[in-house]
Symmetry: C2
Subunit: 345 residues, 2 copies
């Protein structure tokens, strides 16, 4: 059958305890003995039984990364960076198995994965992206995270606002400022009739970006234009653009929930024969790789997804100290490209 630690011990003529010690490298072992053990391990092609170690040691090397949509590069980039940060620090020993779990934005699945990770006695859990604002769900997540924390699982929030009552290191994106900068830019260009394609309702990301937008309008004394809510996908942008134009045919600019939605908006405008930015300016959010390939290239707000993800990974590993008060706000940066210009006179 499968090779066990006892087999290795027998072959190396030492006790199981000694084998365990050289494998974990957390206890002094004579060099000669270690050699023999290592050789036996290789000869037998021994692979430790993870569940058994986890059970005995009451910890595992599993790290869970929860994402809302794995097919969306926004999450893919962050998750990839997080997973990359795990690999640092030598091979083999102490290596963490960083795995990503796709919640699809569903609260049930989020909780389910958290439970599954709790069951596996995960070493750490990273929650990425905006969260649902439903109080009931928030309470459930908070409770679950508390349970995880007290069981020794490190919890970190990446690209998500802090959760009151949860002892989690948090890396929050400054979506509000990003939203404000974008609209200020449009305002400075001379736009006064700006449509807004918001993301799904009840999501922190949606709300914060919209708040920034409104703050900019309010500060400039400009009335809010038409606003719609929808998904974070291209199709949502297509639908919304037509809806917005129906609500106000005089629109000179459209701000989208993110770059993907913005591309949908662009497609809809083109279909109607409107030029960008000649007839209508369009702006996105996130600065995903696709933003620069749009024609014209998309004006957007850059979020340092890669850096944030990597940092979250280090926090999960305990390699990096948590920020003061457990919260770091990641700045958002306006990136002006060709899709925005002054409105037609």
């Amino acid at each position: 059958m499968t090779v066990t630690l006892a087999d290795v011990a027998a072959r190396a003529q030492v006790s199981p305890a000694t084998v365990s010690r050289v494998l974990n490298g957390n206890y002094p072992v004579a060099a000669a003995t270690r050699e023999r053990v290592i050789q036996a391990v290789e000869e037998l092609d021994y692979v430790p039984n993870g569940p058994a170690s986890s059970l005995a040691a009451a910890t595992s090397d599993l790290v869970g990364i929860l994402v809302n949509d794995i097919a969306d590069p926004f999450f893919g980039i962050m998750a990839g960076a997080t997973q990359g940060a795990m690999g640092e620090g030598g091979t083999g020993r102490g290596e963490k198995l960083a795995v990503v779990c796709n919640t699809g934005g569903s609260p049930e699945r989020e909780l389910m994965y958290l439970t599954l990770l709790q069951r596996q006695r995960a070493a750490a859990v990273v929650l990425t992206g905006g969260s649902l604002e439903d109080p009931e769900h928030l309470a459930a997540v908070t409770a679950k995270l508390a349970r995880l924390t007290e069981a020794g699982t490190r919890v970190v929030l990446c690209g998500r606002p802090p959760l009151p009552g949860a002892a989690a290191a948090t890396l929050a994106f400054d979506n509000r400022t990003g939203g404000r900068l974008l609209t200020e830019h449009l305002l400075a260009l001379g736009h006064r009739r700006i449509g807004y394609v918001a993301g799904p309702e009840n999501r922190t990301t949606t709300r914060h970006r919209l708040e920034g937008h409104r703050a900019a309008l309010a500060a400039a004394g400009v009335a809010e234009g038409p606003t719609t809510h929808g998904g974070y996908d291209r199709a949502a942008g297509l639908v919304a653009a037509n809806e917005l134009l129906r609500m106000d045919p005089e629109l000179t600019a459209v701000v989208a929930a993110n770059d993907t939605v913005a591309l949908g908006v662009c497609a809809a405008l083109r279909e109607r024969g409107l030029s960008i930015p000649g007839d209508v300016s369009v702006a996105g959010f996130d600065d995903l790789p696709c933003a620069v390939d749009a024609v014209p290239a998309l004006t957007t707000v850059r979020l340092p997804l890669h850096e944030a993800g990597a940092r979250a990974g280090r926090l999960a590993l305990g390699t990096e100290a948590a920020p003061p008060d457990g919260l770091a706000t990641i700045p958002a940066e306006l990136v002006v490209r060709g899709s925005t210009a002054p409105p037609r006179a």
Copy 2:
């Protein structure tokens, strides 16, 4: 401390075995008893210890999905679909924890994850996307998969050619035909000087697509144009386009390794003031969501990523029977859009 099965048993006034039985639902238990147990579980907020169950039962509910680049929607879409297929079949019991592991295209990391998954006694492993053609690495992977298979882990290959000697259900993309269709399309349009931006060397996907391209040229008696190798990212396309044009300034069409690379090619052409498809036609591969948003929209080859991923998930779960001989070839479909047109006379 943490609640154990014994605590639940004590509270429900039954034996631990009975609790285990109602939790796993694989053995008859009196309705009244079950009720009491369930109530105790809820009152105590009991969460089973995964490692302990896995150790005792010698299996786990972990399913690993290996991808080359999680930030690439090509993999994100497949992985998401695979993970989605896991969720079907009720909640809770028998639920698999599908997790995605990012190898970054590195053979060492691929092997490392396979070992880690082996350690966890994973229920199944899904390898997605093209593989490296290095004989040594292939042998190592084959050996590792054999070890996994004999330990009861189901292995499925998705979007990757079959591995001789591995008892793995395989869903292979027909990259060769896809490549041929694309070049035939260009040939039919009248192109005779076609540049090719291939993917990384030593990868099955790269080789198959290129073979299809060459087969089409050979069948038409047209000489092969300049060819370069590079990554699967946008930057590779930028560099390659300039290189190709240097090698043959009279080029009238460029075929790229995939859509992302094609977008890079488009960007480079635009920078040089060349129009698409007026001066040069461009084609991609995969039909990722971004392909349709390019201007002009990209002619490409559609691969049913979602379907393939979902099917891989069912195979991993054992919900679907393996295809005859363990191999199914997934067809590729030509999608003609605006980025290709007859060459300028």
